[in-house]
Symmetry: D2
Subunit: 201 residues, 4 copies
Amino acid sequence: MNTAEKLAEIFKMFPGIGERQAKRFVHFLMSRNPHFINELSDLLLDLQKGTRQCKECFRFYTLQPGGKNDVCDICSDSHIDSTTLLVIERDSDLESIKKSGTYEGKYFVLGGLVPIVEKNTQKFVRIKELKERLQKGGVKEVILAFTLSPQGDHTDHYLRSELGDLKSDLKISSLGRGLSTGTELEYSDNDTIRNALKNRQ
Amino acid sequence: MNTAEKLAEIFKMFPGIGERQAKRFVHFLMSRNPHFINELSDLLLDLQKGTRQCKECFRFYTLQPGGKNDVCDICSDSHIDSTTLLVIERDSDLESIKKSGTYEGKYFVLGGLVPIVEKNTQKFVRIKELKERLQKGGVKEVILAFTLSPQGDHTDHYLRSELGDLKSDLKISSLGRGLSTGTELEYSDNDTIRNALKNRQ
Amino acid sequence: MNTAEKLAEIFKMFPGIGERQAKRFVHFLMSRNPHFINELSDLLLDLQKGTRQCKECFRFYTLQPGGKNDVCDICSDSHIDSTTLLVIERDSDLESIKKSGTYEGKYFVLGGLVPIVEKNTQKFVRIKELKERLQKGGVKEVILAFTLSPQGDHTDHYLRSELGDLKSDLKISSLGRGLSTGTELEYSDNDTIRNALKNRQ
Amino acid sequence: MNTAEKLAEIFKMFPGIGERQAKRFVHFLMSRNPHFINELSDLLLDLQKGTRQCKECFRFYTLQPGGKNDVCDICSDSHIDSTTLLVIERDSDLESIKKSGTYEGKYFVLGGLVPIVEKNTQKFVRIKELKERLQKGGVKEVILAFTLSPQGDHTDHYLRSELGDLKSDLKISSLGRGLSTGTELEYSDNDTIRNALKNRQ
């Protein structure tokens, strides 16, 4: 493979990028001036140097000037309620919840969902790290926040069984289920209708 | 307008049908044999003759051989729990909920949603009929089941205020809100995240 | 099956209509007033009574007041050039070409395309009728106008071989191939690029 | 703006990438290991160092080991017919035509289309360079190959008028127009039907 082909292979790993668009990226870059490529290359190296994985919530974050070296800005912020811990699958979930402005506690990035047929769970999710995080004390409620899918449900059940006996006073909850914005009854699946009826209020 | 054009105008009123498809329907019918058109025409007249609007829930239903003349099969079924009444916008919502197999009470078709800026509400929804239905007694809980949209929310608030003082022991609830099947946190709007957090359990 | 179910089955035969929309049509009709259904039913019967299949071009047409009983308005119009005959697959193709205002000759509706693996061709297309139409004289050029698809190409080749020896002075042509409006080279398939290059001018 | 934001701004310039996906790219890169970023950064710099713009056809190409420094592999290949010159808008058009295996001559990348209301044309397309290329001799036919759009048509007319008097024996042609693969008559626009009829054969 030549350089252009190798580069296309790397772009194909980017989220949502197929073979055709990967090639278009390479063509696009070939026609840019050297300054553009140099800036892109420099920013990539800067990003890499400035990126840390938080030792507490395991998300990737950009090191701020004067920031602590090991803990992200949310985990090191003493004004944030540290009695609730929202467990999410991946970094991008955290961005969405933060942007919604409706949650004021801490986060924990599980790093994946638990496959339904799988014994060696620790390879897929940070269950060991989550237990350690909870044993450090302070957290009173763990909120499990996964996509409503068979694998999301399975992960929810798995964490409830793993964390259930960890601490006597730990409350475990899961995100509420029912109608989402724009959901029309006529086009809703049976599970959504069942949840919406069960959780009526 | 000739017959073909008049017919296309009628098909354009059918749900989801635009001008081009309405014309294709007419062409399609022109190329059928007379037997096909006659059968369609007969079935339409049969449907009209056999259709009744239920005096209790106001849905349209097909009169069954030996069925009562004024009340649909659900409203006349004494095995169905008549202490809960699910209020929905339109007939097709009823089909979805019935098919989900998760609700075992009676229904009431409101006939529309309440426009947000509107005083003469009775033109749009069967509020008078709903009050009469509730005053006949027997119903202990009214479940409001509307699409999560500004107009759906407005209708929910309107009915709660109208029905609140009707009977001292009437419980009013609304469908639960939160994540629907398949909802991904990353792509959820702020309201859905807020509801899912608030209604966690 | 009851009337509503039978009617849904018929609507499912309409072009582009699936099970869900067929049911929505039935619900829609159940909620209309009797006058609407009666008008629809009457128009359907009128359409059937007023529709004829043209003895010359085989399209379905609406009988006009004072119109001839067997021949459509195009075929009976002596001002239309009757030396060119455009052979198309179906009635809706004729509408598109007529609307484009770029063709001034007569038409012939073949009634289908010739399946690629098939011996008994007369079942699928009006080849016998087309030959009779041409033998009546007057036509100097037959234009074959089919979709660019394997089956359209096969039909083109089949008609060229069937009509080739019919009359010594009959010209047979096919629609030109190349770029269509909006076609972008970057996204064009090899056949289109080949045709566009071959037919450059 | 911090590094992550600057990087997202650059990704937003990539073809087909909006704000949300640009951010996802940054997140994706933050979670890769250092080796991945280093390789990407190195390949980008390699691509930049190895990319040349051909002095004859103006496309960007990857310098091959032992390749000439100024002229791409197509322009320097003496086996390729140099009497035909295909004029295209951009590099990616060349890839598509080359891949189709239906053209065996040389190329010229115009670098854009001529805006319809615009006097200073040289800013937008390489008209001066194209004239110089043709005056060097050898080319007997110029094929204009642009998208069928108002601007593509305008560019076609503009080049015909600019090149018409350049050399007495220069043939100028444009890609053929008509039906493309898969085009259905029923859904074709008037221009496509007109071209297909005019160019029938």
